[in-house]
């Protein structure tokens, strides 16, 4: 009798060990916000399903790169998965494992590329190789006051003055006209982003690309300075024009100021990052909740140039837990997890979630993200991106604030970028 029990006991232990496909711990480094904290809440389910223990470390997003730099090297890493903001993929690519070498996943399957919104995967690309997986769909979308457009008085006055129908601005010309129109009516037409941070570089690139030029382009294996001075000056002058229709303090507006101004009903239209949209739709914090219409940004004279900024989930080459880390990545990107996280503010990169009609009812901006992503452009892809961003931003801000003439600013920008590329 005892023998039988012992055997059954041993077999069941064996069964338990074999049932859990893995038996390891992985460490994941991600940014800290409500979304990733919600992810944390779902981890016990993942652990049960796979037997992988997950240590999820969340730190302020501004400090992620520093931690990655200190903890990840070509032969040693403290993390099995890290989240990287896409402009920094070029400088970290050599430390990360290409996506096509990630395992297929036993419990959670590796998603095929076409599951993601078109163009989103480009966020993880460098040198023709995808070095990770985009985890969210972050791209410029445009927010406009529905109620102001639908107001009959506004409609007729606008038609009278400008000769076409008032609507969500689809082109830069329309943007300018409508901004001017509303400013004359006591609402600011437009809100820029002018704080001394990465956001201003994004605005600069948005404008430059819209007018048909880009400061840096990858040419073969190299990066060259490709700024067309004439077009850049046009872009700057147009933005300066728009600034006339912006609230006071326009020369130092960051996210907090923009969100506040829009939520108080003072702004007609402006760009926004999807992650911030819930703040506009929160009735406790926004006077215009429910009155917003979402779209892709207006198209510039040359093309649409929504700036893309996805978080990429990357796996350091030096990790000893390739398979387990991949499972976690696939779990995060799975349909079920996406469904649980969307209520917490997640903007999924999966097309099936973005286009899902149920979600689009409560979150009309999902469709806007999908549309916008089609024409998304990236900020210049360059190993020394931080330095480049600084140069672009400094001269852009100097030009639009009038501290420097557009021509001089563009020239200096080009010169310094040339010096940087040579180093």
């Amino acid at each position: 009798m005892k023998r039988v029990f012992t055997v059954i006991f041993l077999v069941s232990i064996l069964g338990v060990i074999l049932a859990a496909p893995y038996n390891t711990t992985i460490r994941v480094l991600a940014w800290d916000d409500a979304l990733t904290q919600a992810l944390k809440a779902g981890i016990p389910d993942f652990e049960k399903a796979t037997g992988i223990k997950v240590v999820l470390e969340l730190i302020p997003s501004g400090n992620l790169l520093q931690k990655i730099g200190v903890s990840v090297s070509s032969d040693k890493t403290d993390y099995d998965l890290v989240t990287v903001d896409e402009p920094f993929i070029p400088s970290l690519a050599h430390l990360m494992m290409p996506f096509d070498r990630w395992g297929n996943g036993k419990v959670f399957k590796k998603p095929p590329l076409n599951v993601f919104a078109p163009n989103a995967f480009e966020a993880a690309q460098w040198g023709g190789v995808f070095v990770g997986m985009p985890i969210n769909a972050n791209v410029y979308i445009w927010i406009t006051r529905k109620d102001l457009i639908n107001d009959p008085k506004n409609k007729s006055e606008f038609k009278l003055k400008y000769g076409y129908d008032l609507s969500v601005p689809k082109t830069f010309k329309e943007l300018r006209d409508m901004a001017e129109f509303f400013t004359s009516k006591g609402i600011y037409g437009f809100a820029p982003f002018t704080k001394q941070t990465e956001g201003s570089t994004a605005e600069a690139i948005f404008m430059f690309e819209a007018f048909g030029t880009s400061p840096l382009t990858a040419d073969g294996g190299k990066v060259v300075v490709s700024l067309d001075e004439k077009k850049a000056v046009e872009a700057i002058n147009f933005y300066k024009e728009l600034l006339k229709f912006a609230p006071p303090g326009a020369l130092d507006m960051g996210h907090s100021e923009r969100i506040a101004a829009f939520n108080q009903g003072k702004v007609f239209t402006m760009f926004q990052w999807p992650a911030l949209v819930p703040q506009h739709e929160d009735p406790n914090n926004s006077l215009v909740a429910g009155k917003i219409i979402y779209s892709a940004p207006p198209v510039g004279p040359v093309k649409g140039s929504a700036i893309r900024g996805c978080w990429v989930l990357a796996m350091p080459n030096a990790t000893k837990n390739k398979e387990a880390a991949a499972e976690f990545a696939y779990w995060w990107a799975s349909l079920e997890t996406g469904q649980k996280l969307i209520p917490k503010g997640f903007t999924p990169a999966r097309a099936d979630l973005l286009l899902n009609p149920t979600y689009n009812k409560d979150r009309p901006w999902f469709k806007a993200i999908f549309d916008s992503m089609r024409n998304a452009v990236a900020r210049p892809r360059f190993v020394k991106y931080p330095e480049a961003s600084q140069i672009i931003r400094n001269y852009w801000l100097a030009a639009i604030s009038g501290k420097m003439s557009p021509e001089e600013a563009v020239r200096k920008m080009k010169d310094e970028l040339n010096e940087l590329v040579k180093k």
Partner: protein, 305 residues
């Protein structure tokens, strides 16, 4: 008034089994600090001799003093040095003067003053990041309180932090606001070391307030004030978070104080070799300034011994 003891040690102190007593007192601190920091200090000097990008550590190149030579030619670095110098030279004296007079003001007994003294330190206690962000809020052109006052004083409505001179001025104002209570606390503690009899004697003699301040109180407080300045200097030379969230070093680089530039090189551009070289230079400058402040002001000797 010297001791009459004539043992082999000047002050008649016994030795602990052959080891001079002062080593017993200094040893724990020496051992602990050395054990923790000797490797990092040497390593950071080592880093400063390399052209080293944090993400490309295996490609680092030894360049000996090249980083330092580069620094001397680096216009941004020199600009940051200049900004930092101005900041220290303007902010610290103001903080000291305000701190001194408030220390005199609040040098009174009673629960009321005890509470006030603790409350007035709150700006020193607040997280630097929150201080910087709050000042940003206060300077918001449309509804910030400080903007409101500036408008009333005739400066109009402007994006203060977008104008180079104003931004720099505001960074200084933020620091003065935040740190004069530190000077106050220090001087207040030092005041309690001033023998009461001396203060009272002067009062009885009918000496005027200002005379008492300059001829009696200040001389007594010289070591205290010098130390406070020194400690304040050490931290003022490294001021970072408040300014970073307030202006990001801008507009342009109008408020790119030294630590912001070092941070930029170390944690935005990841040139840690270059940044370490800057750290070394900062250390040398800081030491130089310290010698100057310590001068004859802080005695390393016990009194009248």
């Amino acid at each position: 008034m010297n001791s009459t003891s004539s043992s082999r040690n000047k002050r008649g102190r016994t030795k602990f089994g052959g080891v001079s007593p002062h080593w017993i007192f200094i040893a724990p601190a020496l051992i602990i600090v050395f054990a923790i920091l000797i490797f990092p200090v040497l390593y950071s000097i080592y880093m400063s001799t390399y052209d080293w990008h944090l993400f490309y550590s295996s490609d680092k190149k030894f360049v000996a003093f090249k980083n330092f030579v580069e620094l001397l030619k680096d216009k941004e670095f020199l600009h940051s040095l200049w900004l930092q110098f101005g900041f220290v030279v303007i902010a610290l004296p103001i903080e000291t003067v305000i701190g001194f007079f408030v220390a005199l003001l609040l040098n009174r007994d009673g629960k009321f003053y005890t509470v006030v003294r603790s409350l007035i330190l709150l700006p020193v206690f607040i997280l630097p990041v929150i201080s910087g962000l709050t000042w940003r809020l206060l300077l918001q052109p449309e509804y910030g309180m400080v903007s409101f006052f500036l408008e009333k004083m005739g400066f109009g409505v402007r994006a203060w932090l977008a104008e180079p001179d104003f931004a720099y001025g505001m960074v200084i104002v933020q620091d003065v606001w935040r740190m004069w209570p530190f000077m106050f606390m220090f001087i207040y503690a030092g005041l309690s070391g001033v023998p009461r009899e001396i203060l009272e004697a002067a009062q009885i003699d009918g000496a005027s307030f200002w005379k008492r301040v300059f001829k009696i109180i200040l001389p007594q407080l010289r070591p205290t004030i010098a130390t406070a300045l020194l400690l304040r200097l050490v931290d003022a030379l490294r001021i970072f978070s408040e300014v970073y969230v307030m202006t990001g070093g801008g507009p342009g680089n109008a408020t790119m104080l030294l630590s912001l530039y070092i941070n930029k090189q170390a944690f935005e551009f990841f040139n840690i070799g270059y940044a370490s070289a800057m750290g070394v230079v900062l250390l040398i400058i800081a030491l130089g300034l310290s010698f100057f402040i310590v001068g004859g002001n802080i005695k390393f000797e016990g009194e009248r011994g």
